[in-house]
Symmetry: C2
Subunit: 353 residues, 2 copies
DNA sequence: GTGAAAGCGCTAACAT
DNA sequence: ATGTTAGCGCTTTCAC
């Protein structure tokens, strides 16, 4: 290694010498700690500025066990939902002096274990898990302390750990009501795998809405959150005898696959089949999709989970897990309302030339 | 902080004691260093396994200046190109024991500076910059050593630093030839900002292809890589007198915006206007877009840049920057070829039910 | 071939 | 209010 090129700047000792005080005094000033005479403080501050001293987080980490490193666990960063989430998590963390390492778990417990173990030995302080699956226990035991974990997007199944999630059930309920209002009676739901609790919650909301309508029928196709699972579900349904007239995809990303398949089948949306997604990603807003969806306020989800984690990390004393369920918002667009809605959206967003 | 819960495992001292040797010997064994008698080595190894000893990267970092941390700088993680890139970078790095911190620069030099400074004080070893803009010099001087940097996607303008990029010019040339072959004579190009060198290269390829065709005309609309810039460009053109019959977007993401605007204008693609993107993202493959594009082999770009950086980090001695220009591949799809191509794509990908 | 000892840059008792 | 000192867990001369 080019050791030489690693710019080792001035150390705390240099500052102490320059200010004519001891290192502990400098250390105290650095952390706004205890009582330091105003005059001394000023003198130290001057030396710090003069030398351009910046404390070494590595040395700090060694002695304090703190690294200012947190990780964001997601099942698949190429699903548009996660980059949006990651961006807001990162913004919040950056502001508080933390760096965020993003990891793809692919919903595999071994990946979670491997990654967290490695980062832990690098001094990882906390984790935001946006895709908890069967790795919940592993993560809990690796991190040892509940306050070092926040779940988001998917609610944990077995612990009282903090979480910030959307009101999946309410959002799905509202969406389904919307479809029922439009006279749809055979509704298809393309789910994700069962270990994702948000899927179950959305399913519950859908059933809840449908149970009031006696002649309503629910078709379920189990997918895996992939774009292609949306595609496959639609193709299978459309070949069958009683295809649904409306389809709810478990995510916007899955809806994209479904929409593609409908296009391939030469079916018009929403005239032949209505379609709705879930998430409220930027993608769903494209006039090309004009996708009715349930907005999760992804940025809020990300920001809040980062805030909560960093607070928990900073706070000693009794620990009370935070459980937040944020309201969703139904976004009505052309994929269920048709051209009228499309036009409206277009007119409103009159283009600034 | 809950100091107690930080599982401080066995240290090198424990291992030394258990094996009845000194810490230096254990250290040597850990790094397969120098000469250690086979018997001793075995004994030490046994103690290591027995105690489940794992060296502390933090302590290592303190003494050696190494952190096993690299960063990937991107302009905007919500542009689908970057998550795909990030994923492959991360996979490669993970395998080699490195963690990747992803940062959004938003093409702002101040962001690059702030982030890299912070990470540097955390022991950052290297950076892959996928969106170099006006921050090239800043980055170079911050990192101090060229071997700690690899550029990808956009080629650096002022330095001999290593890079892995696509043959932007060749890809754009080939794409434009394709459009010319289809008898398009008025072609619009939605660019990105001028500081991105890949934009200039693509422009060059386009001009190169058009200069052989006397009656061909190029319209340029300067965008900013945002989806909305694609939208705005199309709307402006379509209101004008001589709208292009074919549009090339600087990225798939921009093409998405353009496609949306075309839909809003009730223009059929490709019958009224042909459209092509650049990147070869997963998005472009959706039957909904069926977007003709130039495949950059994003995964290769990511993997190679990680490989090169980690090699450079590991190698001492003379340093020879690596410059790789990877070939692109023209992906012909419905957005330029029409329904025929659509159908074909569909038939080929017969769905496994 | 192996060990002793001196740090890396900082924090946190414990003194004064 | 400030200084002294002992480490944090490891690497790395320099002896033996």
């Amino acid at each position: 290694m080019s050791r030489d090129s690693l710019e080792r700047g001035p150390t705390i000792v240099d500052v102490a010498r320059a200010a004519g005080v001891s290192v502990s005094t400098v250390s105290r000033v650095m952390r706004d700690h205890a009582d330091v005479k105003a005059a001394t403080r000023t003198r130290v501050r001057e030396s710090i500025d003069l030398l351009g001293y910046r404390p070494s987080p590595i040395a700090r980490a060694l002695v304090s066990g703190r690294s200012r490193l947190v990780t964001l666990l997601v099942s698949d960063i190429t699903n548009p939902f996660y980059p949006q989430l990651a961006k807001s998590v990162e913004q919040e963390a950056k502001q508080k002096g933390y760096a965020v390492v993003i990891c793809n778990t692919e919903d595999r417990t071994t990946e979670t274990r491997r990654y967290v173990e490695r980062l832990l030995s690098q001094g990882l302080e906390g984790v935001i898990h946006a895709s908890v699956a069967r790795d919940e226990q592993v993560l809990l035991s690796l991190m040892a302390d509940e306050r070092r974990i926040v779940f988001t997007n998917r609610r944990p199944a077995h612990s009282e750990t903090s979480y910030v999630v959307s009101d999946n059930e309410g959002g799905a309920f509202e969406l389904t009501r919307h479809l029922l209002t439009l006279e749809h009676r055979r509704i298809g739901f393309i789910t994700g795998p069962k270990y994702a609790r948000n899927v179950a919650e959305r399913m519950k909301g859908i059933r809840q809405a449908m149970k009031d309508v006696t002649d309503a029928e629910l078709l379920v196709s189990e997918g895996d959150f992939s774009v292609d699972s949306g595609r496959r579900a639609v193709l299978t349904w459309m070949r069958s005898e009683n295809a649904p007239t409306a389809v709810i995809a478990v995510s916007d990303s899955v809806a994209l696959g479904a929409l593609g398949a409908l296009a391939d089948c030469r079916l018009r949306v929403p005239e032949d089949v209505a379609l709705a997604g879930f998430d409220g990603t930027q993608l769903s807003a494209s006039p090309l999709l004009s996708l009715t969806t349930v907005d999760q306020h992804i940025e809020t989800l990300g920001r809040r989970s980062a805030q909560i984690l960093l607070e928990q990390l900073a706070t000693g004393g009794r620990f009370e897990p935070v459980h937040e369920v944020l309201p969703t918002q139904l976004l009505l667009r052309g994929s269920t309302l048709g051209a009228a809605a499309d036009r409206r959206a277009f007119d409103l967003k009159a283009v600034p030339v």
